[in-house]
Each structure stands twice: as structure tokens, then as C-alpha cells.
Amino acid sequence: MIGIVGYGTQIPRYRIKVEEIAKVWGTDAPTYKRGLNLNEKSVPSPDEDCITLSVNAARNAMLRAMIDPADIGAVYVGSESHPYAVKPTGTIVSEALGACPYVHTADFEFACKAGTEAMFVALHLVKSGVVKYALGIGADTSQGAPGDALEYSASAGAAAFVMGAKNVIAELIDTHCFMTDTPDFWRRENAHYPEHGGRFTGEPSYMKHTAGAVNAILEKTKMKPGDLDYMIFHQPNGKFPVQMAFSLGFKEPQFRHGLLTPTLGNTYSGSSPLGLAATLDVAKPNQTILIVSYGSGAGSDAFIFKTTEKLLEIRDKAPLVRKQLDEHLMYLEYGQYAKFRHKILKPE
């Protein structure tokens, strides 16, 4: 049996409400809130970035995994906001965890899918027997251009998963991927903010790839939507995943726990992994969980996990997602937010 042996998350304490952003750009907050099913989003503190979120999430994962960091054979971090264009995030994370030097690291980038990419590779490396434990992390401090629709949702958070073959808390049942070249969203080298294809990001992009991956993995595992206890889709907003779920035959109780966007925003590479962590926070043993990511460009990774009795033993060893999401919040005004996110021009 291989699968998840520990998981942990980190969500910043700061939030900004949709109203606060709408006020600045003269848009209608209720329309955005309804249209995107989004009330507020997390904002990284100026001293947080993809690396710090990854380390703190991974430390929480290690609290649950209870393994020797030296036994981690691989550390993979998926993000579209790696602080360095050239210089690995993975080495810093590995060093902070105490996994160096006998460890393989790689940084992944695939828009919002980079996190599940890291998990996918980590899982299969363990499955192949090459390493004892592998860490897959999805983390982002994503940026939306000021005034762009993305600004309302682009947020920050990380989820880390220790994969292994011993003391598994959620067994990997199967995986399936669905990729095509679909240019719905990108950021060029040296560009600060991404660009996107507007409504093109919907039907031919998010919808098609998510559905493609779901249908493929269900067919492969000979399961129907009703056979799954929980499901998590990528959450660019609170609307797409819900529409998608209903159209594929899933019901609200299946996605309720994993749908974090309404108060978290879109954590990009952290999005569906955080949804998975939140679901593990509430799942009972022997329940099945479907997680399907989506990354622009475009593709989806689908995984089905089945929880074990071990889950209950380790769950309380690290903070729950809902706690990080709901407690001790500090709300920002747009001016502070603009300062935090370096949107204010200062002389060099």
C-alpha cells in the first residue's frame, strides 16, 4: 500500500474582502461575490512567500508523518510564484526540514496544477521503490493585476503531503491525467502579472480538462460519482468547481468540505491540495476521495485516495485547515494590501 503518510498546510493570517477591492476599482461587490462565489481571500504577509509557506506546511506535514527527515528521499514543490526564477525552492525547503543532502529535489511549474504535479511525482517515486518517503508540496502567493478579475481571487496558501508506503493514512487507489495545449492563461518571463483569455478560460479550458480527467479516472477505476465519499476540484473561484461538480453528477455533501475558495480565494498550486487537506481533516477511515486539479496551459491530474484507520491517529498532531482558515484573522485595507503585495511604486 502506498499513499499519504502525513499532510500539513499553511495559510497566511491576512485577508482582504471583495468589497475592499471593489471599492477601489468602482466595481459592484455583490455582483463579484455572487458571480465568483467569493467573499474574501488570503494575503501573504510581506515576510511570507512560496518558500516560507512550503516550509511551514511541510513542517506541519512532518508533525503528522512522524518520520526522520533524513528518510525523505525527494522534495518537490509546485508553484507559479517561486521567489527565484533561477535557484531552486526545493533545496531551501529540504534544508529547512533537515532532509539534506541525500535527497532529490525539483521545482514544478504548471500554473495552478504544479502542486498536484509534485504530489503525482512523489507518489509514483514511492510506488516505484526508488525512495522511502517523498514530499509533494503545492504553494503559491499568486498575483492578479490591479483591477483585473483575478485580483479578487489570487491568494496564498500551501499544502504539503508526505508520501510513503508505511503507516499510510490515505491509500492511493489510482491516478489519471488529461493534458492538451490550451493557451488560456500565462505569464511571460519577467512579466509581473499573468494574462488570460477571459471566457476562454472556462468551457474549453477548465471545464474540458477537469471533466476529461474525472471521466477518465472513473472509467479506469470503474467507479461512478456516487461511489465517492468526497471530491475536490481546482477552485479558481467558488463557481467553476460547483458548476462542474453538479454537471458531472456529484452532490454538495461530496465537495462541501473541500471547497475553500469562498473565504480563501484561489491559492493556485495550493488550491486543490488544500481542499484535499481540509477533506482529510473531516474524513472517516475507509472513505474515498477524488481530487482533480486544473492548470492552465492546460491539464488536470486526478487522484483517488482511500483513507485508513491511521488517519485518526495523526489528524490532531498539526493544525486543521479550517482553523488556519477561520481563526485569528487580520483584515487589510486596500492600501495596506497594495503595500504588502508591492503594488506601490517606490524609488529604488
Binding site: P46, D47, I51, I92, E95, E327
Partner: protein
């Protein structure tokens, strides 16, 4: 460029590694060669728990260069569970709400950077221990 200067502090800054005197058990942070209490020169490496309580703190309003955008921010002395003190920023809080004796816990944070194109310096900062 202070690349090597930062890099060689990695054990302390990334993992809170301290030295424990093999003779008198004094814990030193950062690690050093000679025990300040007994003069012994043998230490074992011990990773500190990162849990402690606030001994004294201040709120920096006029910040030194490189820290201006963070102001106001709290800096304090924290006494760790192991009995050793550490000087650290306290983040993820309204500094006005801090009190001496507050339980704090270490997180990995960005401390500073060598300009917009230079190296980014990471290390510990402490946050109120709210189980997050």
C-alpha cells in the same frame, strides 16, 4: 553581496540548531566552539523546539535599512523551552497586543533581501502560539 555570510548560518537560521555542551549541558545559540560556562570544547547539536515565551519586546517604528516596509514590527527576546534565549521578530500579530509571558512558536519567514535582484534571506520569526 553577503551570500556566504548568510549561507554559513543555515543550521541556526533554517533549523534552529543549537549546541549542547557535552560536559555541563549548557545550550548555546548560535553554536560556538567553547562553552561559556565551563570552557569545554565538545558540543552535540540539538534542534531547538521553537516554542517559548516572550521575555521583553519592543515595537520598531523607525526601522533600520531594508526593514522600512515592515514597520511597525515587534522584536523581542524569547526564552525557549530548552532554557536558551533568542532574539527574533514577532510576526503575524498586532504588535500592540503582545504581552511579556506570551507563548510564542517559531515559523520560517523571509527576513530581508539583498535588493530586488539579490539573495533572499530566510530564517525564524516567532508568532503567537495559537495552534496555527
Amino acid at each position: 553581496m553577503e551570500v556566504a555570510k548568510h549561507w554559513r548560518e543555515t543550521p541556526e537560521r533554517y533549523r534552529l540548531e543549537a549546541g549542547k555542551c557535552s560536559k555541563c549541558n549548557t545550550i548555546v545559540f548560535p553554536q560556538r566552539i567553547i562553552c561559556p560556562e565551563c570552557g569545554n570544547r565538545k558540543f552535540t547539536t540539538q534542534s531547538l523546539s521553537g516554542k517559548g515565551k516572550l521575555v521583553s519586546f519592543t515595537i520598531i517604528r523607525i526601522a533600520p535599512g531594508g526593514f522600512e516596509d515592515l514597520a511597525p514590527y515587534a522584536v523581542g527576546i524569547v526564552e525557549l523551552e530548552e532554557g536558551v534565549n533568542i532574539l527574533t521578530q514577532i510576526t503575524d500579530c498586532n504588535p500592540e497586543d503582545l504581552k511579556t509571558g506570551d507563548p510564542l512558536v517559531a515559523k520560517f519567514r523571509r527576513i530581508n533581501e539583498d535588493g530586488k535582484t539579490g539573495m533572499i534571506y530566510y530564517a525564524y520569526k516567532f508568532v503567537p502560539d495559537a495552534g496555527l
